[in-house]
Subunit: 442 residues, 2 copies
């Protein structure tokens, strides 16, 4: 275990002291209060004064609630309400929204109300992280998003018109992120950084002139593919603009291995002001999340439990760190059994997001036919409290529609509980214990 | 309007006086207390002392909760709990259960516990009314059910072994119901009546010798296709057996027109004891329900709202009868508007159960794209209280999984509210008002 020297732990500070970073935008209120920053071991804190009323907050490291136009797939607002620990920030993406612009304009009251959402902060991203979009449709002046009806091309003007219709509390600026394919040239990467900065400047110009967007926050997007100098340039330049935080784009699962990702993120975050949040796009696997938190990432998108649900699987990995020694041994044994099960199901598949990972079990497998245990022993979610693996197996093999509902409840609960455990580990210097537990390398 | 003479209204009576009907089975507790019986205008009452503890009751005319192995499609137990007026009796069918016999045997605690159900009476039918099964697989000694894995042939021995595994509170006996095709011969119909009576006798024999089934109720099945004499014979013979009630089979939607169905049911119910409930299988359309209640039916299966949900539609028909005159006019206008919408969507389709009926609206239709009203004005269900037609339209056209959840909530609520209105109409001599309202023939 790497020892953390007391000197490297920063005291709590208020970001509005403007000690770090660039000037704030007029109306920007979002504040990141870090209670603990350990170089190379992650940042712990609270993102405060979120939303139009400024009453919401979000603990970091944390994640946003992944939705399709405000909907957590399979779940009603009410079912959602049975889950504790859910983030106070709901993510929607323009790819789901763009084709509804006309209807939303007529509706007038924004996506929050259209989707029947209550008590949430709305964050609007460009793409949906759960469904990577085709490449090759980006121009100097436009990016494209794919909805259910096909491609929609966005200029900055159209992008900003959409934001006025969506009425988010917070959105990412328009960006050219087409650099994640393996053989992207240095020239193309440089172009993506330049275009993304140009888009940001244009977005900010429209934003500052729009009364409707007063008090709404903008995140600048850091590009640069896998080229260190471009990443650093993109970070440094974006940080000069009056943004409330940063999206790290083009680093998603499948685009590169974790060692390179860690190296790039570490280099970029050095260029970013300490008091503004960093949101990493497209990364959701627990092992990758842990490594990226150590590299300085604050926020993630929670599309991973949805992907697990869609393949009929249940998240089932250990992250308990505060057990008494006797229980810890028991849990470890249980984890080993589960781990053994997983090896047979499939191994880590960092390349293809549609494949199973080692963090889940495939409930369609015959072995669960007469397994009368809950999905995860000790899980307090509605599904685990009420149903056994055998019942879920039945629902899945007979294509019952309830299967997705119950799996989504469990996977969402499990994933957000993992983030709670991650924060607890950071607060108590137990990140190594957590990592061993999650990666089962004890 | 047919005038109801006071003389035809029976006083309330207790069924356990055994004034009517055949001898009870040992252990049978189910009691039908009728508070109002008007010849040709339906029966109003309460089915009491249901379930193993005898603590549940069910108002008639009423319906059972349609499920797949205890699951209301799309809904968790908790979502279900948000719906008021839901029946206290849950229907499961052997077609969904038969292939799980091995697992259920190992589980030992019955379907109620396997499906995580609480506080419900479990009724087990042979087939699932929402998915008609192929014909041509019935023999003298067997009937077949179709699960997700194909056909399973049942002898009485296997059928009864299944009941012991299911542990229902109440089940229908094994029956040969293959008489609903249009050109079924008189000979085949006679055979179906004979076989079904033989199956019943065999079932009762096994039942009475099975300690596990003590206190469990059996419904005899009345067959007879569209031949009046066979219907009467089947009803009369079944009534001689110690059954707790009667299933009327082979009269399902699509098998015959309503005039013939009414005639047959009227003739059969005259042969059945007054104090035992009659459950009609396979009929769920509101217009048909009304006609069958008048013919003497007490119980229905509630598969109709599920079928409506599966085709992306929302139930939207009027059944309010206790409005003040001013509101009534308003509601009528609204109903006319809605009715106009329906005419364009499609007309009554009694033949094909997969087609839309005039009681629903097709939310996938473009006209709902910017319709910001709830599905049904005044509906108190979760969906109507929180979402508009435009949002549901969006969920449906983008294949969002939440669409089915929300539609199922609304359709279930609407359908069971219709049954409440039906009982209220019977209690207040307003069946004609209700009929005009439902059929929009004012």
């Amino acid at each position: 275990m790497t020892r953390i020297s007391p000197a490297s732990v920063l005291p709590s500070f208020l970001s509005d002291s403007d000690t770090f970073g660039a000037a704030r935008m007029a109306g920007s209120r979002m504040k990141l209060e870090l209670s603990r920053v350990v170089q190379g071991r992650g940042r712990l804190g609270v993102l405060k004064e979120l939303g139009k009323t400024g009453q919401c907050s979000l603990e970091v490291p944390g994640c946003l609630l992944h939705t399709h136009l405000g909907t957590v797939p399979h779940l009603t607002q009410e079912t959602r309400g049975t889950l504790s620990n859910l983030p106070s920030v709901t993510q929607v993406s323009l790819s789901n929204i763009a084709e509804h612009q006309e209807v939303l304009e007529e509706f007038k009251d924004g996506v929050t109300k259209f989707a029947g959402l209550r008590d949430t902060v709305l964050y609007c991203s460009l793409h949906d992280p759960a469904t990577p979009c085709p490449t090759g449709y980006t121009t100097n002046k436009t990016v494209s998003v794919w909805g259910s009806g096909g491609r929609i091309e966005l200029t900055v003007a159209k992008f900003m018109a959409l934001q006025k219709t969506v009425q988010p509390d917070w959105y990412q600026s328009m960006a050219d992120g087409e650099t994640w394919l393996n053989n992207t040239s240095r020239k193309r990467v440089r172009k993506s950084v330049d275009r993304t900065l140009a888009h940001l400047d244009e977005c900010l110009l429209v934003h500052q002139q729009s009364q409707e967007l007063e008090g709404v926050e903008v995140f600048g997007v850091v590009e640069g593919g896998d080229i260190l100098e471009e990443r650093v340039r993109s970070g440094r330049e974006t940080a000069k603009r009056p943004v409330a935080g940063f999206c790290l784009d083009g680093l998603q699962t499948g685009s590169m291995d974790q060692a390179l990702r860690t190296q790039l993120i570490t280099a970029v975050t050095k260029e970013l002001p300490e008091d503004k949040p960093r949101l990493l796009q497209g990364v959701g696997r627990p092992d990758e999340v842990l490594a990226c938190v150590e590299a300085g990432v604050d926020l993630f998108e929670s599309f991973f439990p949805f992907q697990v649900t869609e393949r009929g699987c249940a998240l089932s990995f250990s992250f308990g760190i505060s057990l008494d020694p006797e229980l810890a041994v028991l849990e470890l044994d249980e984890a080993r059994v589960t781990s053994g099960e997983m090896q047979q199901n499939g191994d880590l598949n960092p390349e293809d997001q549609s494949l199973m990972t080692s963090f889940e079990i495939d409930l369609k497998d015959q072995r669960y036919k007469d397994d009368f245990r809950p999905l995860v022993e000790g899980c307090v979610c509605y599904c685990c409290q009420n149903h056994q693996r055998a019942y879920l197996h039945h629902l899945l093999v007979t294509n019952e529609l309830l299967a997705g509902v119950l799996l989504m409840i469990h996977n969402t609960a499990h994933y957000h509980a993992f983030f709670s455990a991650l924060r607890e580990a950071l607060a108590n210097d137990k990140l190594d214990v957590l990592k061993r537990r999650v990666l089962e390398r004890d």
